[in-house]
Amino acid sequence: MSKPVLIATISCLSLLGVAYSFFTATDVNPTPLSSFTAPFVYGHFKVPSENPLSKEGVALGRLLFYDKRLSGNNTVSCATCHLQRLAFTDGKAKSVGVSGRKLAFNSMSLANTLWGPQHFFWDGRAQSLEEQALIPIQHPDEMAQDLDELIAELKADEYYLTLFRQAYGQINAQNIAFAIASFERTLVSSNSKYDQFLRGELTLTGQEEHGRKLFMAHPDVKASLRGGNCIDCHSQFLTSGFKAKFDGFANNGLDSDNNLELGLEKVTKMNTDRGKFKVPTLRNIALTGPYMHDGRFETLEQVLDHYDQGIKISATLSPLIMEANNQLNDDEQMQISLNLNEDEKLAIIAFLHTLTDYTFISNEQFSNPFPTEQAQNE
């Protein structure tokens, strides 16, 4: 290549470069969320590399979470079914969205989703928080919002235009999901009485400690170990389901084969997954009733009674539930029972109450950012 050609090429390229930088949008430089911490006993977690946590993204997500414009008729926000004071549940057996019809499911608590099983919703329908965020917005019975309309609505608002520009660049469906998921990832609950006990800041009462031991133990009559068998599904520090693959889904004996719901089978298409539902976190469990995917149990006592005496046999019932018994079986009956005594049940319930995190439900960083007159759902 001769010298003049070389020089011409280089100049052209540099000119193009300068022009390119002029005509494309300026780079988005959100502030990485540096103050974000979590207890190490919660184990590994992963924030998707395409949606790193940023101050701007989280703040925007919080706004969207509480904004009723996310629903088709502007009456319902994410927070309608996820109230902070109830650890982001709604206190109803089955949630009700814009259609006024009862949904098939109980609204899930949104605590520590950063670690929780990597599949979201009761039947594992979403593979990420980002994916999950857009489903209720569009679901006709939940928020019934058309994404294009939502984007147009948000684009008409100068404030949102600025916030989106700072956090992600532009307003689109992906960035709406990114922001909501980012906000949800910051909902860390780790200051319950149990956490304070783990940090050595206090001691549990005798009853709570008894309950903690039972919670952690799979019963073994041979080794004279009594247990409530909770930890077999609710992994210990997070008290949610296990992370890997679909390990965090289980059939906990709610129904027998003839009325077993699809559950995880809806997603995996495998009949060995029929009746399996997501194992929810037990963090703040005293606040998140009614319980189970369909809210069939009102109280924690009913839940304990179910595990103790109410297990129904089905083909996919967890062998760990089938096998857990605190008494040697002297009859050949296949009645599954933990055989806990009343004191033991009360002790487990007392321990479950130590999982209530009052700083979580009062943390202003998670609360409704809109002026109070607009925040009727709070």
């Binding site: 041979k222 080794a223 210990q236 890997a244 062998p319």
Partner: protein
């Protein structure tokens, strides 16, 4: 003329030498360990009641099987290669029913021995610090006072119209089993793969034969746990094609 010939000759010598050097360059590379699960002489199939109870009546099915393989080391002529935090939770619920571990940047050497342990060594077993695949929130932690399950087997046994749950959760530091494998032919890194067989049936049928009807669960009873551990010590073996130098096949996750 001489000058040209000498130059050409030199060029030839140098290029042949550098070609030899590049080809035989003693470079660090990857070593892959593949663990192929089977149940006795049958392939592993989940959720199918097809395997006979080794010590008695009935047939069993497997719902879950996973185990810790840890502290894997490769013994070479000059190096002993060990990965830090080498705790690997092996599971086989993929299409090929196998588990792969890849070691990258393994220094060049002729490796003739592989050390693998089943279970978790005592210091890690009594700690709640997450490292490797150890995580106090995973399915293998009993409670942090007891440590980790080294092997988890869950399933059911069907016999005479009756379904019996099977739960074998075996841990305790005394059941940590270090194993040593002498390779028939030393391997060098770079695309080397060592194949192992993992015979799940060996848990119930090697040094002792277990009747699942009489022993359907093993958890905290130390004598029972030791019984299974003596058995699982022989569940990992070198495959016949243990030093296949073929490229490892990709296994779907």
């Amino acid at each position: 003329m001489n000058k040209i010939w000498i130059t050409l000759l030199l060029i030839c010598v140098v290029s042949v030498a550098s070609w030899f050097y590049l080809v035989n360059q003693k470079q660090a590379g990857t070593v892959t360990l593949q663990f192929q699960a089977r149940v006795g002489d049958k392939p592993l199939k989940f959720n199918q009641t097809i395997y006979p109870n080794p010590g008695g009546e009935g047939q069993f099915q497997i719902r879950n099987i996973q185990l810790y393989l840890s502290n894997i080391q490769l013994q070479g002529k000059t190096h002993r290669y060990q990965l830090t935090d080498s705790y690997h939770l092996a599971r086989f619920d993929n299409a090929s029913k196998s588990y792969l571990i890849e070691f990258h940047d393994v220094p060049y050497d002729q490796y003739s021995k592989v050390m693998i342990s089943i279970g978790v060594d005592e210091s890690a077993n009594s700690s709640i610090m997450p490292r490797g695949d150890l995580d106090p929130n995973n399915r293998m932690a009993w409670s942090w006072e007891v440590g980790y399950k080294f092997i988890l087997f869950e399933g059911t046994l069907a016999q005479a119209e009756k379904i019996q749950p099977l739960v074998y959760h075996v841990g305790f530091s005394e059941n940590y089993k270090p194993l040593e494998f002498q390779l028939p032919k030393p391997i060098t890194p770079e695309g080397a793969r060592i194949n192992f067989d993992v015979d799940i049936l060996a848990m119930f049928n090697s040094s002792e034969t277990i009747n699942m009807v009489e022993l359907p669960t093993v958890k905290f009873d130390r004598k029972d746990a030791r019984l299974i551990a003596e058995n699982y010590a022989s569940m990992v073996t070198l495959s016949a094609d243990s030093t296949g130098l073929s490229r490892p096949k990709k296994v779907d996750k």
